[in-house]
Symmetry: C2
Subunit: 354 residues, 2 copies
């Protein structure tokens, strides 16, 4: 597999983006949902913002207080007792965990798929008690003329998946929580199967059970059932620690038959690395895995992928497939957005029966 990263990478960085609030500054612009709209490539970016630094070395956590309808910044002096900030993404104090940045979703548009104009204001900003720690990692699926946007809703209640919709990317409707916590990395298929909508989701059990990819189906995109296991992490492989959905699956022909191709992310335990691979799923029963990438199709290799806010990460929420060319948009190091072109034929050639 030889992914061809676009020359302009990273195509979007925090410097491309204005902050949404005077108390915040942008620390990441990454993990965009991808679709085509009115002849343009449209990205729905995750924009992560941190509180402007106060006193020296202070740890901060911006939170949206849905009851009061306002932003609040929690602050802890460095050296606070029982404070754990070893993971740059979180701060844990007295057993309670906060995020060091608050994410919202922002639209960017491009004629050529590489040079993007970013809107100055958020498309979806945290608004409910389920979103007080942010809205993250969206995916867009076009169904029946409506763009359905699922995204991660994070709060002290957990990490859940919520649904919104739009027809014009100006007005958005929220449809509430579709997968209760902890469950993220949901991808809704762009077509019904046997009359029902289908999604991959990633429950995150701990203790008994581990994060794994499941499929579910729905009559209305709101209520989901018929939950079935799809795939787990693989011991001894590049995806040995954890896996989850990535880009919205799309229809392909493989070995003369119809199937779905789902680009997913896999985490290598040591050193912790997020890479991308693919699952080939049965056309009629997408909980059945026909084949799976033996090796990653994209791994963190460049400086902007290996170093940054959270280094060693490539993570996708969307792509554009055009014949053999698969243009994957992805977040790199939880900080910037990049793009790479892959060959569908090469992706398929790198897969083996599970």
């Amino acid at each position: 597999m030889r992914p061809r990263r676009v020359d302009q990478n990273p195509i979007l960085t925090p410097a491309s983006i204005s902050a949404s609030h005077p108390d915040l500054h942008v620390v990441g612009v990454f993990n965009p949902a991808v679709t085509e709209h009115e002849g343009e490539v449209l990205l729905l970016l995750r924009v992560a913002e941190a509180a402007r630094a106060g006193a020296d070395g202070e740890i901060t956590a911006p939170v949206y207080d849905a009851e009061r309808g306002q932003l609040e910044v929690h602050r802890w002096p460095r050296g606070t007792k029982d404070l754990d900030a070893t993971d740059p993404r979180t701060v844990t104090v007295d057993g309670r965990t906060w995020l060091t940045s608050l994410s919202h979703l922002r639209i960017a548009r491009s004629r050529d798929g590489i040079h993007f104009e970013v809107e100055r204001t958020p498309a979806l900003f945290p608004a409910t008690p389920y979103e007080s720690f942010g809205v993250e990692d969206p995916r867009i699926t076009l169904l029946d003329g409506t763009y359905w946007i699922n995204y991660t809703a994070v709060s002290p209640l957990g990490i859940a998946t919520a649904l919104a919709s739009t027809t014009d990317f100006r007005t958005f409707h929220r449809h509430g929580i579709i997968f209760p916590p902890n469950n993220r990395d949901v991808t809704i298929f762009p077509d019904r199967i046997d009359g029902r909508y289908v999604a991959l989701h990633r429950p995150m059990p701990e203790g008994i059970g581990h994060p794994a990819m499941w499929a579910a189906s729905s009559a209305d995109l709101i209520s989901w059932g018929d939950h079935r296991l799809v795939a787990t992490a693989r011991e001894g492989s590049w995806d040995d620690a954890k896996i989850g959905g990535g880009a919205v699956p799309w229809r392909v022909r493989a070995d003369g038959r119809d199937a779905w191709l789902a680009v997913y992310h896999g985490v290598t335990r040591s050193p912790m690395t997020y890479a991308l691979g693919a699952l080939l799923l049965d056309a009629r029963d997408p909980s059945r895995v026909l084949a799976r990438s033996r090796e990653p199709i994209l791994s963190p290799e460049t400086p902007y992928e290996r170093e940054g806010f959270f280094g060693g990460v490539v993570f996708t929420c969307g792509l554009i497939a055009d014949g053999d060319r698969v243009r994957i948009y992805y977040g790199a190091a939880d900080g910037v957005t990049a793009a790479a072109d892959l060959s569908l034929e090469e992706i398929l050639a790198g897969m083996a029966s599970p």
Copy 2:
């Protein structure tokens, strides 16, 4: 609150039950679902079985292998490196957790609600890969002439909630996973609200988020959506560590208005104790809590509640409400089944606005 425990308590013990398999012996009969059927009180008991002891002090974990369709017993000599058996319910080896007992569901019937005849064979035994560690803690809801049974399906994939149904308690139909892992303590309401079925469920996020009670609704009992928070653990209260659904809610009149009463379990952090309380929920929007028990309505006090397989536990999956009398059936110390009569008026008098 003065619960009146029935004189015959515990009304069912492991001695009342024959093992389902020659390699197993019964260690617990507890947490029964409760309904009335053909003029009898019917319990659907959780029967926990452990492997017959082999070599001295050996730790064992019985597992149902769904692919081979047979029972397997995993064995570890005591002193095995990296083995943790401090919790009698589980054994953790090399970061993987197993259960020391395998549960199935068994029917018991009674004319007087106190003396029960237990069937000799399981009603629902583990049968799928989602149930390889057992089926536990059922609840029965009668809707449209069908008895719907939700139960906890435990496996290395996590702790999920599955659905089955029956009309005669002889033939059972499985309907798959309705709440993906980790999610247990589901109670389905015995009536539609605004045309939709409603359930309480208890997602179990870790890290960010804590186990809490949520509500969801469904058009068909299979697909669930519109997930909303109902209640969390309360700092500084008897339910400060964890809460979850208990008995199937029922309609009551309180302060001159209709509402739902849901008996739930709450866990006190130190010393760890499982007790029961009640939530009064809005008749039309059961995600809205009108009132909540200030103190437990039933706490582990008797020897069979305080000592046993897992002491300090009273846990209910069902009750029979008859006017002011509320007969709660409950598991005690994860080992035996007991019953206690409470007064609805007293339960309501012990509640306060949340």
